[in-house]
């Protein structure tokens, strides 16, 4: 089909446009913040050319993956670079390195795992690796931003739970594609309503309980929420039964209510969300910090207006952790409602293409993996954007591709690579 051949053409055209976007944004940030002119030239040229290079190699290799995902991710990463340069040049330089490393990881993923289906053979290894990666930080980890989920490697800190996300999706996809018939068929009938038997659910729930417990121990509630949501989405994709979603939501509500009464840090976040956050500013310590963060974030978003204060025109540094979790508030302050909505549109677009890849893929494992990875991305971007705009209680997760942070960026680029692989596989056999 003709449009398949021109797909890579779309990609290159969009990447050129994205490069102009970076050049304009970086020009504004540079004019405002100053610095070494070479930083500007390299900071613009290297990422723009690297993305284009990948697209050209894809074309040469006749890689048939979705042509729209890479440009969308490019714009998100460029926004990250520009905003971070404006917030703190030190972070921008490090993020610059991570973006290039992430792109390299994505490319390697598309090369090494082109035959990704054989990954479904090692599901218990993923389960084990995931559990180990989550347990290690409990004993050897350091605490950052209220979550004890970081490993210290000297030059950089690594957050294993970012990578465990991918392992969880891989595990669930392999497990469910193998047991899908069992999951869908009714085995136990109670009062005329059929339920699946415990045999098919035991291992799944076991793995689930363990990872949730670990996350509660690490106080990383945002990640726990995302895991659970992804799990539900994948169960729905595998079985098309609302029953599971209903039960899952009830479990989630129950768990949420329970942790509200059990954990003070959860109670605090919910209170700040439900009640007036200004009241908490008088309270000391942690409550103060969180309420202050939310209040500043709301001020920033409000100050942005329709087109924003312009890069450098706002005061995003008033928000603690603005470079990671709260970067969306900084974008909305300086690029306005338009900029914020534009970024959300790009996420929605990414999610749309992701689910389209899931729909087009030809076997259960690919379908479940594409749907799971997309759900992960959707839930993560929704959770943090809803958190900083006070639509939901704040849970500290990163905004994919934009927040400062190497672990998150690398993991997201690997997810992108996997999605491209699945898409290539589906299109190659058309």
């Amino acid at each position: 089909m003709a449009f398949r051949e021109s797909g890579r053409g779309y990609e290159i055209k969009l990447l050129v446009l994205a490069g102009l976007y970076l050049a304009a944004g970086a020009a504004a940030a540079y004019l405002w913040a100053g610095g070494d002119p070479r930083t500007y030239v390299i900071g613009v040229a290297a990422p723009a050319l690297a993305f284009l290079l990948v697209a050209v190699i894809f074309q040469a290799l006749k890689f048939k993956a979705d042509p729209f995902l890479l440009p969308v991710v490019a714009v998100l990463s460029y926004t990250s670079l520009v905003m971070l340069y404006r917030i703190n040049q030190f972070y921008a330089v490090r993020q610059f390195v991570w973006v290039l490393a992430g792109l390299a990881f994505m490319f390697l993923t598309t090369r090494l795992f082109t035959n990704y289906r054989r990954l479904s053979d090692y599901k218990y290894i993923y389960g084990l690796m995931g559990a180990v990666a989550l347990i290690i930080p409990i004993f050897f980890g350091i605490e950052e931003g209220g979550a004890k989920s970081w490993l210290n490697f000297g030059a950089f800190h690594l957050q294993p739970s970012e990578f465990v996300k991918i392992l969880v999706v891989l595990f669930l996809a392999s497990f469910m594609s193998e047991n899908r018939m069992v999951l869908t068929r009714d085995t136990v009938t109670i009062r005329g309503i059929s339920f699946p038997g415990p045999r098919s659910w035991g291992p799944l729930l076991g793995m689930w309980g363990i990872s949730l417990l670990l996350l509660v121990f690490q106080r990383d509630l945002g990640t726990a929420l995302i895991y659970f949501g992804t799990f539900l989405a994948m169960v729905y994709v595998a079985t098309a039964r609302m029953l599971y979603i209903g039960v899952g939501l009830i479990l989630f509500m129950g768990g949420g209510t329970l942790s509200y009464f059990l954990f003070s840090h959860v109670r605090q976040r919910v209170d700040i969300w439900l009640l007036n956050p200004y009241n908490f500013i008088e309270l000391g310590d942690r409550a103060y910090n969180q309420a202050y963060q939310i209040v500043q974030s709301l001020f920033a978003i409000g100050a942005g207006g329709l087109t924003g204060t312009g890069l450098g025109g706002g005061y995003p540094l008033f928000i603690p952790a603005v470079h990671t979790d709260f970067i969306f508030s900084a974008i909305t302050e300086e690029m306005g409602l338009l900029g914020g909505v534009g970024i959300i549109v790009l996420y929605v677009f990414f999610i749309f293409r992701g689910f389209k890849i899931a729909l087009e893929s030809r076997d259960d494992f690919s379908k479940l993996m594409a749907a799971g990875l997309t759900a992960l991305m959707a839930l993560q971007s929704f959770t943090i954007i809803a958190g900083v705009t006070k639509l939901l209680p704040l849970t500290g997760v990163t905004l994919p591709f934009i927040s400062y942070g190497g672990s998150s960026l690398l993991a997201n680029f690997i997810i992108l690579g996997m999605l491209l692989n699945i898409s290539h596989e589906a299109n190659a056999h058309e």
């Binding site: 089909m1 969009l14 729209f68 068929r185 098309a240 087109t307 924003g308 306005g336 534009g342 379908k367």
Partner: protein
């Protein structure tokens, strides 16, 4: 001068973001136009098989032959017997006689039933529809020999045998598929 330049670049930055989004949407629309609904069935599936000389299944007044299917649980060449006075249901749910796994199938998708010497096809409120000779049906419809039924990416043919035959004289690549 620098202030002016700064303002200009700030707006260009925002402008290009939206130019990008509009280009993206335009290209995707162009892309979608090339894809027709039910795209899965356009893919080169397993070769269709001739059903004309399909030998009757014992005890069945009619049969349902799978022509095209990408579903490993429902391989093309399978023939399901239809008996008058009995119902044959299709769908994703485990209680169906024919278990569909395709992405376009609903939990209770469609049913065949024999009544008063005729066979009927009924859609059970499926999301993506049941097609009889490429027309979506919305009420129970009588089937005639040679009718094609399409559900998601599975295409089946209805075969009517006007007489019942003794067992044991089947031939060809067809195997009697077990129900349920």
């Amino acid at each position: 001068m620098i202030d002016l330049l700064l303002t200009v670049f700030r707006y260009i930055f925002l402008l290009i973001l939206f130019v990008f989004i509009f280009q993206l949407i335009k290209m995707v629309f162009r892309d979608i136009k090339h894809v027709q609904p039910g795209g899965a069935s356009l893919r080169a599936g397993p070769a269709e098989i001739a059903v004309q000389d399909l030998a009757p299944l014992p005890g069945a007044a009619a049969g349902l032959a799978v022509l095209v299917s990408s579903d490993p649980g429902l391989p093309s060449g399978n023939v399901y017997p239809l008996k008058s006075g009995e119902e044959l249901t299709l769908g994703r749910g485990g209680r169906n006689d024919i278990f569909l796994t395709g992405p376009y199938s609903s939990v209770e998708h469609a049913a065949f039933f024999g009544k008063d010497g005729q066979f009927w096809l009924e859609d059970r409120g499926s999301k993506n529809g049941t097609y009889l000779n490429d027309i979506r049906i919305d009420k129970p419809t009588v089937l005639a020999d040679g009718d094609r039924i399409k559900i998601g990416d599975v295409t089946m043919q209805f075969v009517r045998w006007s007489y019942e035959v003794e067992s044991g004289n089947r031939s060809g690549p067809y195997k009697e598929a077990k129900r349920g």
